[in-house]
Every structure is written in C-alpha cells, then in structure tokens.
C-alpha cells in the first residue's frame, strides 16, 4: 500500500464499523433508559476507532477476548447486532440463550471467545487461545482487550510475562479511556505510559491515538503482522475516552466538565466523517447511505430481540455440565 496508508475502501469500511458501534450504542442507551431492556450498560461511545482499527486486520478465524465494556469489540469482530440485542434483552435467541447477558457475550463463529466481567481476566485466557494457535501452527492471532484499570491488576503482569517468554501470537490492546470506573488514570497509575511497560517484557509497545482510526489501523497492522509472523506479543496502548461514564446512569461528576466537552468536541466519528469528505474519500451521500443502512439493521435487531421469547426456566439445569461420557474419549480425536 503506498505510503503505508489505508486505501479508500478500507477507510469507508472503518467508517462503517465505527458507525455501527455508534448507532447501536445510541439505540441500546435509548432502550435501557426507557426500560425496554433492563441492563447495566457500559457504553463504548468514544472508543469506536480502537475496535474498528484492530478488527480491520483480523479474519473470522482470529480470536478475541474482551470485557464488560466490549460491545464495540464484538460488533467490530462481526457478531451480528441481532444476537447481541437478544442477549441484552435476556432472550433465548441471544448469543448465549440469555444466560450470559451483556457482560458475557460469546460468539465462537466470529471468534469472540470470552467476554469477562472481571477486570484483567481477558488477558490470561487470551494467552491460552494463542497457545493453542502456536501449538497447532494455524497462524491465528489473538487480541486481548482490556482497559487502563486492568493494567494495575496482577493478571496483566502474569499474562504479558508468559506471552513474552513463550512468544505467543497475541496482541494486548489496552484501551486507555483515562478512567478506571471513577478513578482518574494518572492518579492511580504509576509510570505514565502503559505501553512503556512493554520494554520490561522485551516486547514492542505502541502508544497510539485511539481516537484516530487511521493511526489505529496502522498500529494494528504492524502489531498483528508481528504476532502472526511468529515474532511474539505486542502491547498497544490506545489513548481514547468514554463519553458516557463508567455505566449508564453514572452522572460522571468525577470527570471535569472541560475534559468531557473537549472529548465530545473531538468525537472520533464526527472528525473522521469530515476527514473522509474533505479528502474526497467518500461523499456525504455515500456516508449518509451507510448510516441509514445501519440504522435500519439496528432497529430490526432491536425489534426482533424484543419479540423473541425468554428462555425456559429449565435452562437453569442445562449447560452447567456437559453430558457424561459413558465411553472413553476416542483416540486421536480430531483437533478442532
């Protein structure tokens, strides 16, 4: 690619992914506020570019793990909005039959293997996915998403150290939105940049403007290629911001007004949309058509979710354990 830049189609695809996250978020918040769905919701609004830039370099075979604020990562990876909506609504047509809920979206078809509600826990499990890939030599890459708060839990260190000594094909993506729940990043995190910690493990660390989809796309391309080529893990710190606090209903009083206003002023979607038009990458009409198409998809996802049945209470007894095995595991069972 000339100048290491994304081509026009890639730029439009980035916009499409970011718009899907934004529009979907708008409707989830509306449905939650009006009581049509009952969820504790961790909005990813403001972090769209991080997920879009990463997902642009992944195939359906690649795996990700993410966290409670992870709907942007799931949508970007390709989880259909209708199964997410149905899961948020607690319906049997949800990705997890309504048994996991918003914090545990799982969708192996698109490689979303774990969504965890525990800060830091996306990383140790992602290593195992990468270990399987390494042993099988199947070239899959794993993305472990987490927030700045998770960089201060022990699992971060254990995971990066193990990934580095085993040279696992994994990219650790710290989505630094500057607040861990209600706690300001610089007040509770020593050392400044999280990406600088990569040096402690002898692996590359990239500090990226996570609000710029082109910068994210470039950094992700480099990091994912590194991991896929067998050169070991990479740590990305994507600097971003969340527009709606820790969870829906949070009054965000701990965020200085000017900081929030400045972030919203620089809304990654507004900035990128203007960029695409100004640089002749897309016309207003083309982008508006994409937005209209997504709007329709999301409304349909909501409608179908709310019309679907709830799971039967008998589900309490199902999926706790699998069926008992009455005969030995067949020898040399084909590895999935």
């Amino acid at each position: 690619m000339p100048d290491n830049q994304p081509d026009r189609d890639t730029l439009v695809q980035l916009f499409r992914t970011m718009s899907l996250i934004k529009i979907n978020d708008h409707h989830i918040r509306a449905a939650a506020r009006t009581g049509r769905i009952n969820v504790i919701y961790y909005s990813p609004r403001g972090q769209e570019a991080v997920a879009a830039g990463i997902a642009a370099h992944l195939t359906a075979n690649d795996y990700i793990t993410t966290i409670y604020r992870g709907i942007h990562d799931q949508l970007a990876k390709g989880v259909p909005s209708r199964v997410i909506w149905a899961e948020y609504a607690g319906r049997v047509t949800g990705s997890c039959k309504g048994k996991g809920g918003p914090m545990h979206i799982t969708h192996p078809e698109t490689g979303v293997m774990v969504t965890t509600g525990i800060v830091g826990s996306s990383m140790p499990i992602a290593n195992g996915l990468a270990l399987a890939s390494q042993i099988r030599g199947d070239k899959r890459v794993v993305i472990a998403n987490f927030g700045d708060g998770a960089s201060n839990i022990g699992a971060f260190h254990e995971s990066l150290n193990l990934a580095a000594v085993w040279k696992l094909p994994i990219v650790f993506v710290c989505q630094n939105n500057l607040y861990a729940e209600h706690s300001r990043f610089d007040k509770f995190t020593a050392g400044g940049r999280i990406s600088d910690r990569a040096g402690s493990y002898g692996i590359p660390g990239l500090h990226v403007d996570g609000n710029d989809p082109v910068a994210m796309w470039k950094a992700a391309r480099e990091a994912i290629a590194h991991a896929r080529d067998g050169d070991g893990p990479v740590l990305i710190e994507a600097m971003t911001f969340r527009f709606h606090g820790h969870l829906l209903g949070d009054d965000a009083s701990y965020i200085p007004k000017e900081q929030l206003e400045a972030a919203v002023q620089n809304d990654p979607l507004v900035v990128f949309r203007r960029f695409l038009i100004d640089h002749g990458s897309a016309s207003e009409a083309e982008l508006a058509a994409i937005e209209a198409e997504i709007e329709e998809e999301v409304v349909e996802a909501r409608t179908s979710a709310l019309a679907a049945p709830y799971p039967d209470v008998n589900e309490l007894k199902i999926d706790v354990f699998g069926p008992s095995r009455s005969t030995p595991l067949p020898r040399a069972e084909t590895v999935r």
Binding site: S95, I118, P124, G128, A155, D319, E333
Partner: protein, 326 residues
C-alpha cells in the same frame, strides 16, 4: 506377579497414555518439564522428553496465567492438564477457576466449554504448616460447573485421571502428598474409572463411613478394627466429591441406619455438612443414630508434630465416634 507401583508412577502413566492417545492433551505447570526436574515429586518425569517441550511446558510461578492459559486452550479444543503445585496456591487463581473455568459453559449458553484438569497436591503429615497442607475442596464443590475428584490408591489415581482428562468439563484433581508413596497393584493401561460414581471400598451392615482421598485408607483401617469388636462398617469412597454420588450414599445409609463422614478438610462448613444434610433430609426417621462428621480442627494446619497429628482425624477418632453410635 502383579506389578506394584505407587501413585506417582500411576499418574505418570495416566498422563503419558493420555498424551499418546490424544494429541490435544498438553501439560502446563511449574517445574514439570525434565529440565526443571519433571515435577516437584516427579509425576511428570520424562514426559517432556517423550512428548516435547511444546506439549509439556514448565511455566513461571504465575498461577493465574497457568489456569488462564489452560482455559483458553481448552475453549478451542485442547485438553490441558494444568498443575497447581499445592492446593493452597489455587487461592491465587480462584478468579480463573471459579469465575471462568466453571462458568463459561453456562454463561455462553453451551457454546463453549472447558475440558481442563487441574492437578493439585495437599495434605497434612509432612509438617508443611498452614499454607501448604489445606484441603480446600469445599470451595470448589460449592461452585456449580466444577467437578472435584480424588483417589485413594494407585490404580484409582490412574483410572480417575484418565476419566478426568476425557471429561468435557473442568476437573479439580486432588493428590494427597503422603499417599503418593504407598504402593498398590498397577492398573491396566487404558482403564477408566467413571466420574460421579462412588466406590464401596468395604461392605458392611451396621454403619456407613463416607470418605474420600487418603482418609479412605484410614476409614478402612478403622473398619477392620471395628470388625474385631463386632461392628460391621461399610466404607464408601466418593472418588468424585462434586457432584457426588447421592444414590450410593443414601442406599448404603438406608441399609445401615448410621453414617459418619470423614474428611481431612476442616469439619465446619465442609463437604461433610452437605452430605449429612442430604442424609437427614432423605432418611429422617429411618436413622438409628444422628449423622456424625469428622474433619480437621477449626484452625490453620499447625506445624509442630503433636499439633499436626491432632489436627486431622485419626483411626482412633473414627473408631471412637462410631462406637458412640451404638
């Protein structure tokens, strides 16, 4: 002549046979490759040489990372056997075990599952003190989605380990440290002992002793002594502690009318309480005596020999409590 082996050898054979039969079986844990000694007591000795460093991996001292790696690999079809050297060290990996391994099948609506074995050793008797000796099985038994397994002889160690590896759900596999060294007849290669089914280790008529792990051998010794005093004790080895074989326990106690549960774990709030409650609910009015429990004292495992000996149930304690039922 029957080949006599100890449980270290039996487990080594189980792991080797499973790795031979199933390419997806991998071993992860501290010091378990040959370069690091083949395991702290030698359970994995020779396996890295035989199956390679890619499948038999020594790890840093990072219990969360060990179990996390096991979970991730299991989610995509590997069958990891992770070693957490000592049962007390599971405490630093509890999030991985109870929030993730145990729950992912349910929370994913059955889309994923975690066919992983966690091997761990423990037990009093060697003066390891308060942080290297605990039986913590009740914590895991209290977590739906976890299976908890223990054995009381080398051949059972083999057969239960093979079944644990075959199983499609996470299994915590408890190995007793002093018990490692007792020998018994070697198992036939490939033998499985099914999970979820208790073993009647000794038939009896007057009282049922329900136990598991090394305490089964104490219960058998007590039963032999009681027989000389005219009391016929049936001994049940649960083998699978969770979910346990209620039917076998209730059938036996229904027959004998008396029950004593014996475990090395602290008695209070332990596995014995759950079993005692089940027996009372199912057989109230048919019991000839109250259900009794014997377990560790309500204190951390002490170091000094006389204290450590007094902490865990002894053969004499079992005999005494049973004589009190008649």
């Amino acid at each position: 002549m029957t080949d006599m082996i100890n449980s270290i050898e039996a487990l080594n054979r189980a792991l080797a046979d499973a790795m031979t039969d199933h390419p997806e079986v991998i071993l992860l844990g501290e010091d378990l490759a040959d370069e690091e000694g083949g395991g702290i007591v030698g359970v994995t000795k020779g396996l890295s040489g035989r199956f390679g460093d890619s499948r038999v991996r020594s790890t840093p001292i990072s219990e969360q990372a060990i179990i996390g790696a096991g979970i991730g690999a299991a989610l995509v079809g590997m069958r990891p056997v992770c070693e957490i050297m000592l049962m007390n060290f599971t405490t630093v990996a509890m999030d991985m075990i109870t929030n993730h391994a145990a729950k992912l099948r349910f929370m994913s609506g059955g889309q994923t599952h975690v066919p992983m074995v966690i091997r761990t050793m423990t037990g009093t008797g060697l003066g390891n003190g308060g942080q290297h000796s605990d039986y913590l099985e009740a914590w895991f038994a209290h977590t739906p989605g976890m299976k908890v397994v223990s054995y009381s002889s080398p051949s059972e160690a083999y057969g239960l380990m093979r079944s644990a590896i075959d199983d499609d759900d996470p299994v915590l596999f408890i190995e007793n440290i002093p018990g490692y060294f007792a020998t018994g007849p070697a198992p036939l290669a490939g033998t499985r002992i099914p999970l979820g089914i208790a073993n009647i280790a000794r038939n009896g008529e007057d009282v049922t002793i329900i136990s598991y792990s090394e305490m089964v051998n104490l219960a058998l010794a007590a039963a032999a002594a009681l027989a000389e005093q005219g009391i016929s004790a049936e001994v049940i080895d649960l083998r699978t502690i969770a979910p346990y074989d209620r039917a076998t326990v209730l059938t036996s106690v229904g027959k004998t009318g008396r029950a004593v549960i014996v475990h090395e774990a602290v008695r209070d709030f332990g596995v014995g309480a759950e079993i005692a409650a089940d027996i009372s609910e199912a057989l109230h009015g048919k019991l000839a005596a109250p259900v009794r429990r014997l377990g560790g004292a309500s204190c951390p495992v002490p170091f000094s020999k006389p204290l450590e000996t007094a902490f865990a149930p002894r053969k004499e304690d079992i005999i005494e409590i049973i004589r009190g039922l008649f």
